[in-house]
Symmetry: none
Subunit: 401 residues, 2 copies
């Protein structure tokens, strides 16, 4: 359902919802025993939740679509990821914990190498060191353009973040990165003439940067892409009436949560730390988003066994979670990351919704094949999960008399 | 599919469709044996229908949305309930069998108590008796406003129906009921200036009512809400080419059926009476809507065992229904009313579509968990059921060459 439709039905309650997001949880079977990572894991507690809850698999964006972290999370958070788009520049800012303001324009930058005729010879400047990147960013941040505040921050190796802050700027610009070598960087260009002023400013920045970097071969030029501004997402409080908190160790996920107005809780680096943070803050919020990163990282590394271990580690925390007496628990992921593929995939994501009021199905274990026959079905849209959780938490009014 | 899309494919036939609507049929498991009301019922005949038919669970409005009776019915009838909204005033009119005309504006009224400073002290006037309500409605119905015909009818206790009949009136007014005590009733106000004339008329009515009621403490004032007009629904004949009849014992459901141009058949008060009415009128219609109320009332009362008995009573009527040789039978409900919750809920609604031409699945019994693995899936939108029934009745042309 549309966010505005849901919003009108939201009512206050003192029930609590926990969204346990196992990043990249979905997988594919390994050859040895034809089991996926989740199926191969020993997860008595998640299986218990699955038995008492209602299960299924969600489609983060659309059938066959592999989501990035931004759309994957937004979908599960209840925001249509095709409507609320998080640009690459904004994602880069979130990823390094940069505090992006309302009208800031962010772009992902690459240091690159250009030859004598100004043509790109290496789009990544030989992957310069992060230290070198740091030095160069400090130089570029000194660039002055009237009416604009300029931030240039190191991401990693050849990658940096550019943020322009000022009135009337627009993110509707094409990339200057030609995405190939042997051609010159593209000139900045707006989608329409409304972007003319921003185009002039970006062009000025690039020209000044080119001069500053002239003697820094191989990093003697920059390429910009993913110009974007923060999407105009209504907050969790506005959309769902939820006072919400995020427990996440990585800046990007903390940034995504902040986009929706979630309070970022301080936590440690381990899974145990995250659940300890949940317990400590239990009384102060209606909704908790707990982000577990290593399910995804192990999948990206193609490390089936490590992914299994991470899942089993999470499983051990479930009794402690239930001891807090949450009203609704959602266990799912933002997308699949099969170890077999070493990257994000389009496969539907196993999901449990557990509450006193959910209608249990016959699913007895938490796994891809088991979830197919669950009450949520094998293809529930990700955006439907939060409305369903709100219903289970008795936080939605009846529609119509 | 969109109603207009279906409409273009409709063709005539002499096949007959029966929609058996078990109001609030869906339930939740009880503790003793983990069975829902439907699962706990002994229903050899419904199980037989399920075995030969195609099963599933429908979503009346949207995932997580608990429908009122209006949206629940409209959805199953094939009309998008988010598009065709039945306001509270209209529903009140339907509920007492008031014959609402095309442009009438209806509102739900409460007799209330106001104190010396005009502030509401009791929104329900101490729940005055229905007899007292009757007396007061007769007084209010004498109010005269030029160019408007005024109807004031008793609903029950403190509740009444106000209908304004006249040219150019609008239902787009805010409630005057502040929904809290200690504040004055709100002044009538339109959504836009287009409602100015209606606002003046409503205000005039309220002022006159206030004078008339001045000495009727505790019922010394009125509050109005849910101003609305009949939704502009195309009839069943127009939408689906079906000459249709409704068999229902309660005024509200008869009213909903009349909204769609169904012929209201006279019937008795029992389930047996309703099926007898079906048999008696069998030759005269293409489509029959049979509404069974006690599945919902027993659920609302939290009476699991009574709900089971009602279901079993309906089951006994199935052989008689099949003996009439219907072409298509739909068995479903407008929403779930789990005895555990004593109210409507968001849970998907068990459904059978039975015909000679349906493609059977492996479902062998009619129950929530059994239906999950049915051919209709666990989340089919309610509005898809009638098009599917039309297809099974061979009443839809092929789309495209």
């Amino acid at each position: 359902m549309d966010l505005n439709f849901i919003k009108k039905l939201v009512k206050k309650s003192n029930t609590k919802i926990v969204l346990l997001m196992l990043d990249g949880i979905g997988g594919l079977p390994r050859e040895s025993d034809n089991k996926t990572e989740l199926e191969a894991s020993c997860t008595p507690n998640l299986d218990g939740l699955a038995s008492c809850g209602v299960c299924g698999l969600h489609t983060p964006v659309g059938t066959g679509i592999t989501p990035g972290s931004g759309p994957g999370h937004l979908g599960v958070f209840g925001y249509d990821p095709t409507k609320y788009q998080v640009g690459r520049g904004v994602l880069a800012a979130l990823g390094i914990g940069f505090d992006l303001k309302e009208n800031d324009v962010a772009a992902r930058g690459n240091f690159c190498t250009i030859g004598d005729q100004g043509k790109v010879t290496d789009r990544r400047a030989g992957r310069i060191s992060t230290e070198k990147n740091n030095e160069l960013c400090e130089l570029l941040e000194k660039i002055e353009i009237p009416g604009v505040e300029i931030h240039v921050k190191t991401v990693k190796e050849h990658r940096f973040l550019l943020v322009l802050r000022g009135d009337g700027l627009s993110g509707n610009l094409y990339d200057t990165d030609p995405q190939e070598i042997g051609v010159a960087p593209l000139k900045p260009k707006g989608f329409t003439t409304k972007e003319d002023r921003t185009v002039i400013i970006v062009n000025d920045f690039i020209q000044q940067a080119k001069k500053i970097l002239a003697n820094s071969h191989p990093a003697n030029m920059i390429l910009l892409r993913g110009f974007s501004q923060k999407p105009d997402c209504p907050s969790y409080e506005e959309s769902f009436g939820l006072k919400s908190a995020a427990i996440a160790t990585y800046p990007m996920y903390r940034g995504l949560a902040r986009l929706l107005g979630m309070k970022l809780l301080e936590t440690g680096t381990t899974i145990q730390d995250e659940f300890a943070t949940l317990e400590k803050n239990w009384n102060d919020f209606d909704f908790f988003f707990i982000h577990i990163k290593p399910t995804d990282s192990s999948g990206e590394d193609g490390d089936f066994d490590r992914k299994v271990k991470v899942i089993e580690e999470v499983d051990k925390e479930i009794p402690g979670l239930l001891a807090l007496k949450p009203d609704v628990v959602i266990v799912t992921g933002d997308h699949s990351t099969p170890a077999k593929m070493k990257k994000h995939s389009w496969h539907p994501v196993p999901t449990i919704i557990w509450s006193e009021l959910c209608r249990p199905d016959n699913v007895k274990s938490f796994g891809e094949r088991a979830c197919i026959s669950g009450g949520l079905g094998p293809r529930i849209p990700a955006v439907d999960l939060i409305p369903l959780a709100l219903a289970n938490a008795q936080r939605l009014e009846k529609f119509g008399a």
